[in-house]
Amino acid sequence: MIRRDPRAERDAMVVSRTPRLRLDRTHRGGASLTRADAPVAAPTIIHIAEPAFLVFAVIEAAGGALNRHDRQVIGAARTLAGRDAAVVVLTPHLPSQAPDAIGTAGGDRTITLPTPTYDPERSAALIAQAITDHAPRHVVFPESADGGDLARRVAALTEADLFAGAESLTPTQAIRPAQAGRVELRATPPRLISIAPDRIAPYHGAPHAADPLPTPAAAATPGGIRAATTLAVDAATIPLDQAPLVIAAGNGVTDFAGFLDLARALGATPGASRVVCDAGALPRALQVGASGTVLNAECYIALGISGAPQHLQGIGTVEHIVAINTDLHAAIIARAGLAIIADAQDVMQALRAML
Protein backbone atom coordinates (compact mmCIF):
# COMPACT_ATOMS: atom_id res chain seq x y z
CA MET A 1 0.00 0.00 0.00
CA ILE A 2 1.33 3.43 -1.01
CA ARG A 3 0.85 6.24 1.50
CA ARG A 4 1.64 9.99 1.15
CA ASP A 5 4.12 11.60 3.47
CA PRO A 6 3.02 15.29 3.65
CA ARG A 7 6.08 16.41 5.67
CA ALA A 8 8.51 14.99 3.11
CA GLU A 9 6.49 16.53 0.28
CA ARG A 10 6.65 19.94 1.97
CA ASP A 11 10.39 19.64 2.57
CA ALA A 12 10.89 18.84 -1.10
CA MET A 13 9.13 22.10 -2.06
CA VAL A 14 11.41 24.32 0.04
CA VAL A 15 13.40 26.79 -2.08
CA SER A 16 14.93 28.77 0.81
CA ARG A 17 14.25 29.16 4.50
CA THR A 18 15.99 32.53 4.97
CA PRO A 19 15.08 35.33 5.11
CA ARG A 20 11.67 33.72 4.90
CA LEU A 21 10.31 30.34 3.99
CA ARG A 22 9.75 30.06 0.23
CA LEU A 23 7.96 27.08 -1.25
CA ASP A 24 7.87 26.22 -4.94
CA ARG A 25 4.46 24.70 -5.59
CA THR A 26 4.68 24.86 -9.39
CA HIS A 27 6.41 21.57 -10.03
CA ARG A 28 5.06 18.46 -8.46
CA GLY A 29 8.15 16.37 -8.68
CA GLY A 30 8.80 16.94 -5.02
CA ALA A 31 6.10 14.56 -3.89
CA SER A 32 7.86 11.60 -2.35
CA LEU A 33 5.99 8.43 -1.92
CA THR A 34 7.10 5.79 0.54
CA ARG A 35 5.87 2.27 0.78
CA ALA A 36 4.01 2.02 4.08
CA ASP A 37 4.84 -1.63 4.48
CA ALA A 38 8.56 -1.33 3.64
CA PRO A 39 10.06 -0.06 6.93
CA VAL A 40 8.24 -2.64 9.06
CA ALA A 41 10.97 -4.96 10.31
CA ALA A 42 10.33 -8.68 10.62
CA PRO A 43 9.29 -9.46 14.22
CA THR A 44 12.01 -10.99 16.33
CA ILE A 45 11.46 -14.66 17.02
CA ILE A 46 11.51 -15.65 20.68
CA HIS A 47 13.81 -18.55 21.54
CA ILE A 48 13.53 -20.20 24.94
CA ALA A 49 16.78 -22.18 25.09
CA GLU A 50 16.78 -23.16 28.77
CA PRO A 51 13.13 -23.63 29.75
CA ALA A 52 12.25 -23.68 33.44
CA PHE A 53 9.72 -26.45 32.70
CA LEU A 54 7.70 -27.75 29.76
CA VAL A 55 4.01 -27.46 28.92
CA PHE A 56 2.57 -29.79 26.29
CA ALA A 57 -0.17 -28.65 23.91
CA VAL A 58 -1.83 -31.48 21.98
CA ILE A 59 -3.53 -30.20 18.83
CA GLU A 60 -5.73 -31.94 16.27
CA ALA A 61 -4.77 -29.90 13.17
CA ALA A 62 -7.53 -31.54 11.15
CA GLY A 63 -6.92 -31.09 7.45
CA GLY A 64 -3.28 -30.09 8.02
CA ALA A 65 -4.06 -26.61 9.35
CA LEU A 66 -4.52 -25.16 12.83
CA ASN A 67 -8.11 -24.29 13.62
CA ARG A 68 -9.39 -21.79 16.20
CA HIS A 69 -9.54 -24.38 18.99
CA ASP A 70 -5.96 -25.53 18.26
CA ARG A 71 -4.69 -21.95 18.56
CA GLN A 72 -6.61 -21.59 21.84
CA VAL A 73 -4.97 -24.78 23.15
CA ILE A 74 -1.50 -23.40 22.33
CA GLY A 75 -2.56 -20.06 23.86
CA ALA A 76 -3.63 -21.85 27.06
CA ALA A 77 -0.30 -23.68 27.20
CA ARG A 78 1.47 -20.34 26.62
CA THR A 79 -0.48 -18.85 29.56
CA LEU A 80 0.60 -21.73 31.82
CA ALA A 81 4.22 -21.53 30.59
CA GLY A 82 4.72 -17.79 30.99
CA ARG A 83 8.01 -16.33 29.73
CA ASP A 84 10.45 -18.85 31.14
CA ALA A 85 8.94 -22.19 30.23
CA ALA A 86 8.62 -23.75 26.79
CA VAL A 87 5.44 -24.87 25.04
CA VAL A 88 5.86 -28.18 23.22
CA VAL A 89 3.18 -28.68 20.55
CA LEU A 90 2.29 -32.32 19.87
CA THR A 91 0.80 -32.45 16.42
CA PRO A 92 0.02 -34.91 13.66
CA HIS A 93 2.11 -34.55 10.52
CA LEU A 94 1.65 -31.06 9.08
CA PRO A 95 2.46 -29.58 5.67
CA SER A 96 5.84 -27.82 5.48
CA GLN A 97 4.54 -24.26 5.95
CA ALA A 98 2.63 -25.15 9.12
CA PRO A 99 5.56 -24.96 11.62
CA ASP A 100 5.41 -21.17 11.09
CA ALA A 101 1.76 -21.32 12.11
CA ILE A 102 2.72 -23.18 15.29
CA GLY A 103 5.43 -20.63 16.10
CA THR A 104 3.02 -17.75 15.50
CA ALA A 105 0.46 -19.45 17.73
CA GLY A 106 3.07 -19.53 20.53
CA GLY A 107 4.77 -22.94 20.28
CA ASP A 108 8.48 -23.24 21.19
CA ARG A 109 9.00 -26.88 20.18
CA THR A 110 7.06 -29.37 18.06
CA ILE A 111 6.80 -33.12 18.35
CA THR A 112 5.27 -34.79 15.31
CA LEU A 113 3.20 -37.89 16.14
CA PRO A 114 3.45 -40.43 13.30
CA THR A 115 -0.19 -41.48 13.07
CA PRO A 116 -1.20 -41.29 9.41
CA THR A 117 -4.64 -42.86 10.00
CA TYR A 118 -7.19 -42.55 12.81
CA ASP A 119 -5.66 -44.59 15.61
CA PRO A 120 -6.40 -43.01 19.01
CA GLU A 121 -4.88 -45.92 20.94
CA ARG A 122 -1.52 -45.45 19.19
CA SER A 123 -1.70 -41.64 19.57
CA ALA A 124 -2.41 -41.99 23.29
CA ALA A 125 0.51 -44.41 23.72
CA LEU A 126 2.85 -41.97 21.92
CA ILE A 127 1.68 -39.01 24.02
CA ALA A 128 2.06 -41.05 27.23
CA GLN A 129 5.59 -41.97 26.11
CA ALA A 130 6.37 -38.29 25.43
CA ILE A 131 5.06 -37.42 28.91
CA THR A 132 7.37 -40.04 30.42
CA ASP A 133 10.35 -38.78 28.36
CA HIS A 134 9.97 -35.03 28.93
CA ALA A 135 8.00 -34.84 32.25
CA PRO A 136 5.96 -31.73 31.34
CA ARG A 137 4.30 -29.82 34.16
CA HIS A 138 1.01 -29.54 32.24
CA VAL A 139 -0.55 -31.17 29.19
CA VAL A 140 -3.34 -29.20 27.49
CA PHE A 141 -5.88 -30.89 25.17
CA PRO A 142 -8.80 -29.48 23.20
CA GLU A 143 -12.18 -30.58 24.59
CA SER A 144 -13.41 -31.47 21.10
CA ALA A 145 -14.77 -34.83 19.89
CA ASP A 146 -11.47 -36.51 19.03
CA GLY A 147 -9.34 -34.29 21.29
CA GLY A 148 -11.50 -35.04 24.34
CA ASP A 149 -11.37 -38.77 23.53
CA LEU A 150 -7.58 -38.64 23.26
CA ALA A 151 -7.29 -36.67 26.53
CA ARG A 152 -9.25 -39.34 28.41
CA ARG A 153 -7.22 -42.15 26.86
CA VAL A 154 -3.99 -40.43 27.96
CA ALA A 155 -5.45 -39.81 31.43
CA ALA A 156 -6.35 -43.51 31.76
CA LEU A 157 -2.93 -44.60 30.46
CA THR A 158 -0.97 -42.31 32.78
CA GLU A 159 -3.42 -42.93 35.68
CA ALA A 160 -3.81 -39.19 36.15
CA ASP A 161 -6.96 -37.17 36.69
CA LEU A 162 -8.24 -34.97 33.85
CA PHE A 163 -9.48 -31.43 34.48
CA ALA A 164 -12.04 -31.68 31.69
CA GLY A 165 -13.49 -28.72 29.83
CA ALA A 166 -11.73 -25.83 31.60
CA GLU A 167 -13.47 -22.52 30.94
CA SER A 168 -10.96 -20.26 32.65
CA LEU A 169 -7.24 -20.75 33.01
CA THR A 170 -4.45 -18.79 34.69
CA PRO A 171 -1.07 -20.08 35.91
CA THR A 172 -2.54 -20.37 39.42
CA GLN A 173 -6.17 -21.36 38.84
CA ALA A 174 -8.29 -23.45 36.50
CA ILE A 175 -12.10 -23.42 36.53
CA ARG A 176 -14.52 -25.95 35.03
CA PRO A 177 -18.26 -26.62 35.39
CA ALA A 178 -19.52 -29.75 37.18
CA GLN A 179 -22.69 -31.28 38.67
CA ALA A 180 -24.80 -30.69 35.56
CA GLY A 181 -23.34 -27.22 35.13
CA ARG A 182 -24.72 -26.03 38.46
CA VAL A 183 -21.39 -25.55 40.21
CA GLU A 184 -17.85 -24.80 39.14
CA LEU A 185 -14.70 -26.46 40.39
CA ARG A 186 -11.63 -24.32 41.01
CA ALA A 187 -8.19 -25.80 41.46
CA THR A 188 -4.55 -25.06 40.84
CA PRO A 189 -3.97 -26.27 37.26
CA PRO A 190 -3.34 -30.04 37.43
CA ARG A 191 -1.21 -32.02 35.01
CA LEU A 192 -3.86 -32.93 32.43
CA ILE A 193 -6.25 -30.20 31.34
CA SER A 194 -8.68 -30.07 28.44
CA ILE A 195 -10.06 -26.68 27.47
CA ALA A 196 -13.56 -25.94 26.20
CA PRO A 197 -13.82 -24.20 22.81
CA ASP A 198 -13.89 -20.39 22.63
CA ARG A 199 -13.06 -19.86 26.29
CA ILE A 200 -9.31 -19.24 26.44
CA ALA A 201 -7.70 -16.61 24.27
CA PRO A 202 -5.11 -17.60 21.66
CA TYR A 203 -1.61 -16.12 21.83
CA HIS A 204 -1.05 -12.83 20.00
CA GLY A 205 2.51 -11.90 20.93
CA ALA A 206 5.77 -12.18 19.00
CA PRO A 207 6.26 -15.54 17.28
CA HIS A 208 8.15 -18.34 19.00
CA ALA A 209 10.70 -20.62 17.40
CA ALA A 210 8.82 -23.95 17.05
CA ASP A 211 11.96 -26.11 16.88
CA PRO A 212 11.34 -29.78 16.10
CA LEU A 213 11.98 -32.39 18.81
CA PRO A 214 12.45 -36.12 18.14
CA THR A 215 9.38 -38.31 17.86
CA PRO A 216 8.69 -40.48 20.94
CA ALA A 217 9.52 -44.13 20.43
CA ALA A 218 6.67 -46.38 21.52
CA ALA A 219 6.25 -49.90 20.19
CA ALA A 220 3.17 -50.30 17.99
CA THR A 221 0.85 -52.86 19.53
CA PRO A 222 -2.34 -54.09 17.85
CA GLY A 223 -5.25 -52.23 19.40
CA GLY A 224 -8.91 -53.07 19.83
CA ILE A 225 -9.99 -50.68 17.07
CA ARG A 226 -9.58 -52.93 14.03
CA ALA A 227 -10.67 -50.54 11.27
CA ALA A 228 -11.86 -46.97 10.89
CA THR A 229 -13.38 -45.28 7.85
CA THR A 230 -14.75 -41.76 7.69
CA LEU A 231 -18.02 -41.77 5.76
CA ALA A 232 -18.92 -39.20 3.12
CA VAL A 233 -21.63 -36.82 4.28
CA ASP A 234 -24.32 -35.29 2.11
CA ALA A 235 -23.90 -31.56 2.76
CA ALA A 236 -27.63 -30.93 2.35
CA THR A 237 -28.40 -33.14 5.38
CA ILE A 238 -25.95 -31.42 7.78
CA PRO A 239 -27.76 -29.17 10.28
CA LEU A 240 -27.17 -25.56 9.24
CA ASP A 241 -25.51 -24.64 12.56
CA GLN A 242 -22.89 -27.39 12.11
CA ALA A 243 -22.23 -27.08 8.39
CA PRO A 244 -18.62 -26.20 7.45
CA LEU A 245 -19.46 -24.62 4.08
CA VAL A 246 -22.70 -22.69 3.57
CA ILE A 247 -23.97 -21.01 0.41
CA ALA A 248 -26.86 -18.61 0.92
CA ALA A 249 -29.24 -16.91 -1.48
CA GLY A 250 -30.61 -13.41 -1.03
CA ASN A 251 -32.69 -10.95 -2.94
CA GLY A 252 -30.23 -10.95 -5.85
CA VAL A 253 -31.06 -14.55 -6.72
CA THR A 254 -34.10 -15.37 -8.85
CA ASP A 255 -33.53 -19.00 -9.90
CA PHE A 256 -33.83 -21.00 -6.65
CA ALA A 257 -33.91 -24.44 -8.28
CA GLY A 258 -30.60 -23.52 -9.91
CA PHE A 259 -29.31 -22.27 -6.53
CA LEU A 260 -30.10 -25.59 -4.80
CA ASP A 261 -28.52 -27.44 -7.73
CA LEU A 262 -25.36 -25.31 -7.36
CA ALA A 263 -25.26 -26.02 -3.59
CA ARG A 264 -25.44 -29.76 -4.31
CA ALA A 265 -22.71 -29.58 -6.97
CA LEU A 266 -20.47 -27.47 -4.73
CA GLY A 267 -20.97 -29.73 -1.70
CA ALA A 268 -22.26 -26.80 0.34
CA THR A 269 -25.20 -26.61 2.71
CA PRO A 270 -27.87 -24.22 1.35
CA GLY A 271 -29.03 -21.23 3.39
CA ALA A 272 -31.11 -18.15 2.70
CA SER A 273 -31.68 -14.58 3.83
CA ARG A 274 -34.85 -13.44 5.59
CA VAL A 275 -36.24 -11.76 2.45
CA VAL A 276 -36.07 -15.01 0.49
CA CYS A 277 -37.71 -17.03 3.29
CA ASP A 278 -40.43 -14.40 3.75
CA ALA A 279 -41.22 -14.61 0.05
CA GLY A 280 -41.55 -18.38 0.39
CA ALA A 281 -38.87 -19.11 -2.19
CA LEU A 282 -36.89 -21.28 0.24
CA PRO A 283 -38.04 -22.96 3.49
CA ARG A 284 -37.82 -21.05 6.75
CA ALA A 285 -35.43 -23.67 8.17
CA LEU A 286 -32.72 -22.35 5.82
CA GLN A 287 -32.83 -18.80 7.18
CA VAL A 288 -29.44 -17.48 8.35
CA GLY A 289 -29.34 -14.67 10.88
CA ALA A 290 -30.59 -13.48 14.23
CA SER A 291 -34.09 -14.90 13.81
CA GLY A 292 -32.86 -17.96 11.88
CA THR A 293 -29.74 -20.03 12.43
CA VAL A 294 -26.47 -18.69 13.79
CA LEU A 295 -23.74 -20.37 11.75
CA ASN A 296 -20.50 -21.99 12.89
CA ALA A 297 -19.23 -22.44 9.35
CA GLU A 298 -15.66 -22.09 8.15
CA CYS A 299 -16.68 -20.52 4.87
CA TYR A 300 -19.83 -18.68 3.79
CA ILE A 301 -20.83 -17.72 0.26
CA ALA A 302 -23.41 -14.91 0.11
CA LEU A 303 -25.17 -14.63 -3.25
CA GLY A 304 -27.03 -11.37 -3.65
CA ILE A 305 -27.15 -10.64 0.08
CA SER A 306 -26.54 -7.06 1.21
CA GLY A 307 -25.81 -7.95 4.83
CA ALA A 308 -28.43 -6.55 7.20
CA PRO A 309 -27.16 -6.34 10.80
CA GLN A 310 -29.40 -9.27 11.77
CA HIS A 311 -27.91 -11.33 8.96
CA LEU A 312 -24.34 -10.41 9.96
CA GLN A 313 -25.10 -11.59 13.52
CA GLY A 314 -25.81 -15.01 12.07
CA ILE A 315 -22.38 -15.16 10.42
CA GLY A 316 -20.44 -13.52 13.25
CA THR A 317 -18.02 -16.40 13.82
CA VAL A 318 -17.42 -17.27 10.16
CA GLU A 319 -13.81 -16.60 9.20
CA HIS A 320 -14.01 -16.76 5.42
CA ILE A 321 -16.79 -14.98 3.56
CA VAL A 322 -17.35 -14.65 -0.18
CA ALA A 323 -19.86 -11.96 -1.11
CA ILE A 324 -21.31 -11.49 -4.58
CA ASN A 325 -23.43 -8.36 -4.79
CA THR A 326 -24.15 -5.52 -7.22
CA ASP A 327 -23.85 -2.87 -4.48
CA LEU A 328 -20.27 -1.85 -3.70
CA HIS A 329 -21.41 -0.16 -0.49
CA ALA A 330 -23.35 -3.10 0.97
CA ALA A 331 -22.36 -4.05 4.53
CA ILE A 332 -21.41 -7.58 3.55
CA ILE A 333 -18.77 -6.31 1.09
CA ALA A 334 -16.86 -4.75 4.02
CA ARG A 335 -17.07 -8.05 5.90
CA ALA A 336 -16.02 -10.33 3.03
CA GLY A 337 -12.63 -11.91 2.40
CA LEU A 338 -13.49 -12.06 -1.32
CA ALA A 339 -15.97 -9.43 -2.51
CA ILE A 340 -17.25 -9.52 -6.08
CA ILE A 341 -19.30 -6.62 -7.46
CA ALA A 342 -21.38 -8.43 -10.03
CA ASP A 343 -24.85 -9.82 -10.58
CA ALA A 344 -25.24 -12.88 -8.34
CA GLN A 345 -27.53 -14.65 -10.79
CA ASP A 346 -24.93 -14.50 -13.62
CA VAL A 347 -22.08 -15.61 -11.38
CA MET A 348 -24.24 -18.44 -10.06
CA GLN A 349 -24.85 -19.75 -13.57
CA ALA A 350 -21.15 -19.45 -14.46
CA LEU A 351 -20.24 -21.34 -11.25
CA ARG A 352 -22.69 -24.12 -12.05
CA ALA A 353 -21.25 -24.42 -15.55
CA MET A 354 -17.71 -24.78 -14.14
CA LEU A 355 -18.59 -27.63 -11.73
Binding site: A180, A227, I238, Q242, P244, L328, A334, A339, I340, A353
Partner: protein, 241 residues
Amino acid sequence: MNIIVLLSAGRDPQSGTPRPVPVELQAIALALALATHLAPTTTITGLHAGEPDPSVLDALGHGLTTLTLLRTNPADDPLATLAAEIDRARPDLILAGRRGRGGTDSGLLPYRLARARAMPIAADAIAIEPDGNDLAILQSLPRGARRRLTLARPAIVTIHEAAPPARTFAFRARRSGTIHEKPGIPAPSPTDNHEIRPYRQRPRLIAETTQPTTAGHLMLAPTPETAAAAVLAYVEQFRGR
Protein backbone atom coordinates in the same frame (compact mmCIF):
# COMPACT_ATOMS: atom_id res chain seq x y z
CA MET B 1 -24.79 -61.54 24.13
CA ASN B 2 -24.47 -59.92 27.50
CA ILE B 3 -24.80 -56.13 27.53
CA ILE B 4 -24.20 -53.89 30.54
CA VAL B 5 -25.34 -50.26 30.60
CA LEU B 6 -23.47 -48.11 33.11
CA LEU B 7 -25.81 -45.74 34.92
CA SER B 8 -24.88 -42.69 36.94
CA ALA B 9 -26.78 -40.52 39.40
CA GLY B 10 -28.04 -37.65 37.26
CA ARG B 11 -29.24 -34.21 38.27
CA ASP B 12 -31.47 -31.80 36.42
CA PRO B 13 -29.35 -28.85 35.19
CA GLN B 14 -32.03 -26.32 36.15
CA SER B 15 -33.62 -27.63 39.35
CA GLY B 16 -30.92 -29.98 40.63
CA THR B 17 -33.48 -32.70 41.36
CA PRO B 18 -32.64 -36.35 40.54
CA ARG B 19 -33.19 -37.06 36.86
CA PRO B 20 -31.70 -39.79 34.67
CA VAL B 21 -28.85 -38.74 32.37
CA PRO B 22 -30.53 -38.52 28.91
CA VAL B 23 -27.59 -40.00 27.03
CA GLU B 24 -27.63 -43.08 29.32
CA LEU B 25 -31.32 -43.59 28.50
CA GLN B 26 -30.32 -43.40 24.82
CA ALA B 27 -27.73 -46.09 25.56
CA ILE B 28 -30.54 -48.31 26.93
CA ALA B 29 -32.57 -47.70 23.75
CA LEU B 30 -29.52 -48.55 21.62
CA ALA B 31 -28.96 -51.78 23.61
CA LEU B 32 -32.63 -52.75 23.10
CA ALA B 33 -32.31 -52.07 19.36
CA LEU B 34 -29.16 -54.20 19.26
CA ALA B 35 -30.92 -57.02 21.12
CA THR B 36 -33.51 -57.31 18.35
CA HIS B 37 -30.65 -58.13 15.90
CA LEU B 38 -29.23 -60.80 18.16
CA ALA B 39 -30.20 -64.12 19.67
CA PRO B 40 -33.12 -64.00 22.12
CA THR B 41 -30.74 -64.93 24.93
CA THR B 42 -29.34 -61.39 24.94
CA THR B 43 -29.45 -59.85 28.41
CA ILE B 44 -29.33 -56.13 29.15
CA THR B 45 -28.42 -55.13 32.69
CA GLY B 46 -28.06 -51.70 34.22
CA LEU B 47 -25.10 -51.25 36.56
CA HIS B 48 -24.67 -48.56 39.17
CA ALA B 49 -22.21 -48.23 42.02
CA GLY B 50 -23.41 -45.98 44.79
CA GLU B 51 -26.64 -45.38 46.64
CA PRO B 52 -30.09 -46.25 45.19
CA ASP B 53 -30.54 -42.81 43.67
CA PRO B 54 -34.05 -42.13 42.25
CA SER B 55 -32.49 -41.06 38.94
CA VAL B 56 -30.87 -44.48 38.55
CA LEU B 57 -34.03 -46.41 39.54
CA ASP B 58 -36.02 -44.36 36.98
CA ALA B 59 -33.94 -45.98 34.21
CA LEU B 60 -36.10 -49.09 34.82
CA GLY B 61 -39.04 -47.15 33.40
CA HIS B 62 -37.18 -46.44 30.15
CA GLY B 63 -36.88 -50.02 28.87
CA LEU B 64 -34.40 -51.58 31.29
CA THR B 65 -35.68 -54.68 33.08
CA THR B 66 -32.78 -55.57 35.39
CA LEU B 67 -30.58 -53.32 37.45
CA THR B 68 -27.56 -54.34 39.52
CA LEU B 69 -27.00 -51.91 42.35
CA LEU B 70 -23.65 -52.09 44.11
CA ARG B 71 -23.98 -50.29 47.41
CA THR B 72 -21.02 -48.01 48.07
CA ASN B 73 -20.56 -44.60 49.55
CA PRO B 74 -21.35 -42.06 46.76
CA ALA B 75 -18.06 -40.28 47.54
CA ASP B 76 -16.08 -43.48 46.91
CA ASP B 77 -14.19 -44.30 43.74
CA PRO B 78 -16.48 -46.74 41.87
CA LEU B 79 -13.73 -48.18 39.66
CA ALA B 80 -12.82 -51.22 41.79
CA THR B 81 -16.48 -52.09 42.44
CA LEU B 82 -17.42 -51.90 38.75
CA ALA B 83 -14.30 -53.79 37.64
CA ALA B 84 -15.08 -56.63 40.07
CA GLU B 85 -18.67 -56.83 38.81
CA ILE B 86 -17.48 -56.87 35.18
CA ASP B 87 -15.10 -59.72 36.01
CA ARG B 88 -18.05 -61.63 37.45
CA ALA B 89 -20.65 -60.86 34.76
CA ARG B 90 -18.23 -61.09 31.77
CA PRO B 91 -20.23 -58.81 29.42
CA ASP B 92 -19.60 -58.66 25.66
CA LEU B 93 -20.46 -54.99 25.48
CA ILE B 94 -20.54 -52.18 28.03
CA LEU B 95 -22.42 -49.00 27.13
CA ALA B 96 -22.06 -45.67 28.92
CA GLY B 97 -23.05 -42.06 28.33
CA ARG B 98 -20.32 -39.84 26.93
CA ARG B 99 -20.49 -37.58 30.02
CA GLY B 100 -22.33 -37.87 33.30
CA ARG B 101 -24.58 -35.09 34.48
CA GLY B 102 -24.65 -34.50 38.21
CA GLY B 103 -21.21 -35.58 39.48
CA THR B 104 -17.79 -34.47 38.32
CA ASP B 105 -19.02 -34.88 34.70
CA SER B 106 -15.53 -35.50 33.37
CA GLY B 107 -16.43 -38.59 31.27
CA LEU B 108 -13.28 -40.32 32.50
CA LEU B 109 -14.71 -43.41 34.24
CA PRO B 110 -15.39 -45.51 31.08
CA TYR B 111 -11.79 -44.94 29.98
CA ARG B 112 -10.38 -45.89 33.39
CA LEU B 113 -12.57 -49.00 33.34
CA ALA B 114 -11.38 -49.88 29.82
CA ARG B 115 -7.80 -49.48 30.99
CA ALA B 116 -8.38 -51.53 34.15
CA ARG B 117 -10.01 -54.42 32.23
CA ALA B 118 -7.77 -54.07 29.10
CA MET B 119 -10.82 -53.58 26.88
CA PRO B 120 -10.94 -51.39 23.77
CA ILE B 121 -13.07 -48.27 24.05
CA ALA B 122 -14.80 -46.21 21.36
CA ALA B 123 -16.43 -42.85 21.98
CA ASP B 124 -19.56 -41.07 20.71
CA ALA B 125 -21.43 -43.98 19.10
CA ILE B 126 -24.84 -43.42 17.54
CA ALA B 127 -25.41 -46.95 16.15
CA ILE B 128 -24.01 -50.38 17.03
CA GLU B 129 -24.31 -53.56 14.98
CA PRO B 130 -22.76 -57.00 15.41
CA ASP B 131 -20.10 -57.69 12.77
CA GLY B 132 -19.10 -61.35 13.07
CA ASN B 133 -17.14 -61.59 16.29
CA ASP B 134 -16.58 -57.83 16.27
CA LEU B 135 -18.80 -54.81 16.67
CA ALA B 136 -19.47 -52.22 13.97
CA ILE B 137 -19.82 -48.78 15.56
CA LEU B 138 -21.05 -45.63 13.85
CA GLN B 139 -19.40 -42.66 15.49
CA SER B 140 -20.79 -39.12 15.46
CA LEU B 141 -18.26 -36.39 14.69
CA PRO B 142 -18.71 -32.62 14.63
CA ARG B 143 -20.19 -30.96 11.54
CA GLY B 144 -22.49 -33.90 10.84
CA ALA B 145 -19.63 -36.23 9.87
CA ARG B 146 -19.72 -39.96 10.66
CA ARG B 147 -16.97 -42.55 11.14
CA ARG B 148 -17.38 -46.32 11.06
CA LEU B 149 -15.22 -48.33 13.48
CA THR B 150 -14.72 -52.05 13.88
CA LEU B 151 -14.14 -52.91 17.51
CA ALA B 152 -13.03 -56.20 19.08
CA ARG B 153 -15.31 -57.73 21.73
CA PRO B 154 -15.62 -57.27 24.68
CA ALA B 155 -15.60 -53.50 24.40
CA ILE B 156 -16.77 -50.32 26.10
CA VAL B 157 -18.70 -47.86 23.93
CA THR B 158 -19.82 -44.40 25.00
CA ILE B 159 -22.98 -43.00 23.45
CA HIS B 160 -23.41 -39.58 21.84
CA GLU B 161 -26.44 -37.29 22.17
CA ALA B 162 -27.11 -37.71 18.42
CA ALA B 163 -28.05 -41.39 18.99
CA PRO B 164 -31.71 -42.44 18.52
CA PRO B 165 -34.03 -41.04 21.20
CA ALA B 166 -34.65 -42.80 24.51
CA ARG B 167 -37.79 -44.79 25.19
CA THR B 168 -40.50 -42.90 26.99
CA PHE B 169 -41.01 -43.47 30.70
CA ALA B 170 -43.51 -46.16 31.75
CA PHE B 171 -44.46 -46.18 35.42
CA ARG B 172 -45.49 -49.85 35.48
CA ALA B 173 -42.16 -50.94 34.00
CA ARG B 174 -40.41 -48.75 36.57
CA ARG B 175 -42.28 -50.59 39.39
CA SER B 176 -41.91 -54.10 37.98
CA GLY B 177 -38.17 -53.91 37.15
CA THR B 178 -35.81 -56.21 39.05
CA ILE B 179 -33.13 -54.69 41.27
CA HIS B 180 -30.23 -56.87 42.45
CA GLU B 181 -28.60 -55.14 45.37
CA LYS B 182 -25.10 -56.14 46.46
CA PRO B 183 -22.40 -54.59 48.60
CA GLY B 184 -19.64 -52.82 46.67
CA ILE B 185 -15.95 -52.49 47.48
CA PRO B 186 -15.21 -49.42 49.60
CA ALA B 187 -12.43 -47.44 47.94
CA PRO B 188 -12.03 -43.87 49.17
CA SER B 189 -11.31 -41.63 46.21
CA PRO B 190 -8.14 -39.55 46.53
CA THR B 191 -8.93 -36.17 48.03
CA ASP B 192 -8.82 -33.42 45.45
CA ASN B 193 -8.24 -29.81 46.37
CA HIS B 194 -11.18 -28.54 44.28
CA GLU B 195 -13.01 -25.55 45.60
CA ILE B 196 -16.74 -25.75 44.74
CA ARG B 197 -18.62 -22.54 43.96
CA PRO B 198 -21.95 -21.81 42.28
CA TYR B 199 -21.50 -21.77 38.51
CA ARG B 200 -20.90 -18.37 37.01
CA GLN B 201 -21.48 -17.75 33.32
CA ARG B 202 -18.34 -16.42 31.69
CA PRO B 203 -18.41 -14.76 28.31
CA ARG B 204 -17.22 -16.80 25.37
CA LEU B 205 -14.48 -15.37 23.22
CA ILE B 206 -15.87 -13.19 20.50
CA ALA B 207 -14.46 -14.33 17.20
CA GLU B 208 -11.93 -11.86 15.91
CA THR B 209 -13.64 -12.01 12.55
CA THR B 210 -16.77 -10.15 13.68
CA GLN B 211 -14.89 -6.95 12.94
CA PRO B 212 -15.00 -5.97 9.27
CA THR B 213 -11.98 -7.31 7.49
CA THR B 214 -10.17 -4.68 5.46
CA ALA B 215 -7.71 -7.08 3.87
CA GLY B 216 -10.41 -8.61 1.71
CA HIS B 217 -9.94 -8.96 -2.03
CA LEU B 218 -12.35 -6.86 -4.11
CA MET B 219 -13.25 -7.52 -7.75
CA LEU B 220 -15.12 -4.72 -9.51
CA ALA B 221 -17.48 -5.84 -12.27
CA PRO B 222 -15.58 -8.92 -13.47
CA THR B 223 -17.02 -11.22 -16.13
CA PRO B 224 -19.15 -13.99 -14.59
CA GLU B 225 -16.53 -16.58 -15.61
CA THR B 226 -13.65 -14.70 -13.90
CA ALA B 227 -15.79 -14.22 -10.80
CA ALA B 228 -16.78 -17.90 -10.71
CA ALA B 229 -13.15 -19.00 -11.07
CA ALA B 230 -12.14 -16.69 -8.19
CA VAL B 231 -14.94 -18.05 -5.99
CA LEU B 232 -13.96 -21.65 -6.75
CA ALA B 233 -10.29 -20.95 -5.99
CA TYR B 234 -11.23 -19.33 -2.68
CA VAL B 235 -13.67 -22.04 -1.64
CA GLU B 236 -11.60 -25.03 -2.81
CA GLN B 237 -9.92 -25.65 0.57
CA PHE B 238 -13.30 -25.86 2.37
CA ARG B 239 -14.95 -28.32 -0.02
CA GLY B 240 -15.29 -31.98 0.82
CA ARG B 241 -13.98 -31.71 4.37
